[in-house]
């Protein structure tokens, strides 16, 4: 999203004034001035787990592909199965380099027979566009690539009460899309792309709206949700996604790590000829990757921050994300370790010169019920 603030060079989403009015603590994130917390990260986190919360994620990018060869180009770019993604469906996958390294992790919306939409990380919009255009140019395929990021606002409404709250704004009798599906819908008279997806582990929606209608949508949602709908900032978004062990680009994923190392094989549809596939297949021949992303539960409540060393008998690993998990009531982390350390392995994390015991666990950390 758009408008630049000349004073600090940070961009603002359409909801910037709403955040400031609500008393949010603002931080720079991916070039945007974003709300990290309104009152308490823990409270906002728990609201999303127990009732509902609304996040402004308008900083994220939207790139549309359109033209006769859209599917062919997307299949080159995207690790997951494009042709098998029917109209109205959403798929998560990766954009990989020839090396297998990750350019970005994205969701693909199959919006038309010859059209689709990628929702991409804010920090990667420019890099993604450059990569898409480079691949497109070499391919000779007939497909237009349009950056719609500035024209699009994006809200996430997440939590057990999210569907009921959003339903109050929908026309009577409107059916909610199923999980990993989306619909073109009208909420409070605003045309939106209503997607039954999220980044919290809770049920709910991600709602794409025209930038100039995003404030109206936010206000309508807040009115419909009342006390049941908390404002939630990037801080809670991070604790929620970490409890689910969802990767965050720049932490678990980058151009030096590939989807197999990151444990994302289920989002890789082999045999479809996407860029990076031969590199990912090489792991198989070698008996698996030499390092793997794992979940760690630490003893005590100290937080293992990104970059901290994971000490193993086979050499050091590194923490990529770490936080206190409010719903698991403990310190959790994600990190890369030598591949032989699977769930159950006991390791240590070095925190300020001290060796803190931790255990490799199966993820997600948070399991409902």
């Amino acid at each position: 999203m758009s408008a630049a603030d000349p004073a600090v060079g940070l961009r603002r989403t359409p909801l910037w004034s709403r955040h400031v009015e609500a008393g949010a603590r603002m931080v720079a994130f991916a070039g945007f001035d974003m709300p990290v917390v309104y009152s308490s990260i823990l409270d906002e986190h728990r609201s999303v787990r127990t009732r509902a919360g609304v996040f402004d994620v308008s900083h994220m990018g939207e790139v549309r592909l359109r033209g006769p060869d859209t599917l062919a180009l997307a299949q080159r770019l995207f690790t997951n199965d494009v042709a098998g993604t029917g109209l109205g469906r959403v798929r998560y996958g990766l954009l990989c380099l020839e090396s297998g390294g990750v350019v970005d992790d994205v969701t693909l919306y199959r919006t038309g027979e010859r059209e689709l939409l990628f929702c991409v990380n804010a920090s990667n919009v420019a890099a993604d566009l450059a990569w898409l255009r480079e691949v497109h140019a070499k391919s000779g395929l007939d497909c237009a690539i349009v950056d719609e990021s500035d024209a699009t606002g994006l809200l996430a409404v997440q939590g057990p009460e999210a569907l009921a709250i959003v339903a109050r704004l929908a026309p009577a009798g409107a059916k909610p899309p199923k999980r990993w599906h989306f619909a073109h819908a009208e909420l409070a008279g605003i045309p939106v792309l209503l997607s039954r997806t999220g980044y919290t582990g809770e049920d709910g929606y991600e709602i794409f709206a025209p930038a100039e209608r995003t404030v109206a949508l936010w206000d309508a949602l807040r009115k419909a949700g009342g006390d049941a709908l908390a404002l939630a900032g990037l801080g809670a978004r991070d604790t929620l996604r970490t409890e689910m062990a969802y990767p965050l680009y720049g932490h678990e994923l980058d151009r030096d790590h590939d989807p197999v190392e990151a444990g994302l094989e289920r989002f890789v549809a082999f045999g479809r000829g996407f860029i990076g596939e031969p590199a990912l297949r090489r792991h198989e021949a070698l008996g698996g990757p030499s390092r793997k992303l794992v979940g760690l539960v630490l003893e005590g409540r100290q937080v293992a921050r990104p970059g901290f060393r994971i000490l193993t008998p086979d050499g050091d690993g590194v923490v990529t994300s770490g936080t206190f998990g409010p719903s698991v009531d403990g310190a959790i982390a994600l990190g890369y370790v030598p591949a032989k350390f699977a769930a159950g392995a006991k390791l240590h994390v070095e925190i300020r010169g001290k060796s803190v015991p931790c255990k490799v666990v199966s993820t997600p950390f948070y399991k409902r019920g």
Binding site: G23, R25, V36, V37, S40, I41, L42, G235, T239, G300, R301, Q302, V303, R305, T323, F324, P326, A331, R352
Partner: protein, 135 residues
């Protein structure tokens, strides 16, 4: 930013690194200020020194960790740690809820009580907070 004013009690001394000190008989209690807890947001872990530790002015004596940040506790004056608030291990949220009361961290016997005079008064600390937060 939020519209509340930070609490800065008159009966405490303050440091530029956002600790407070309050004289309590022969000892001095130390904690972190309302501004500090607000900046850190939800505190989830406190690392305390052991009783009997000799603190040197300007040296780190512990750590406060929140969901999003970690902050050193810096000894404002020299002295011996005579009490530690060990319940904070179970209730780190007390630092957020009541930073000048239930959220106290340690008590020390100062080497030289006059050292307190080098620290900031409530008015001086208020100015220091204002310079950083704009209020």
């Amino acid at each position: 930013m939020s519209d509340h004013d930070y609490k800065i009690p008159e009966d405490c001394h303050y440091t530029e690194s956002d600790e407070w000190l309050r004289v309590d008989g022969a000892t001095v209690r130390i904690g972190i200020t309302d501004y500090a807890q607000s900046e850190l947001n939800d505190i989830v872990f406190v690392e305390l020194p052991e009783r009997g530790t000799q603190l040197e002015a300007g040296r780190t004596f512990g750590v406060v960790e929140s969901v999003k940040a970690v902050s050193d506790l810096i000894a404002p004056i020299a002295g011996e740690v005579v009490e530690i608030h060990s319940k904070l291990s179970e209730h780190p949220e007390w630092l957020n809820e009541d930073p000048y009361g239930r959220g106290w961290i340690i008590a020390i016997t100062p080497e030289d009580i006059d050292e307190l005079d080098r620290l900031l008064s409530a008015a001086e600390y208020r100015a220091h907070v204002k310079a950083r937060s704009g209020k």
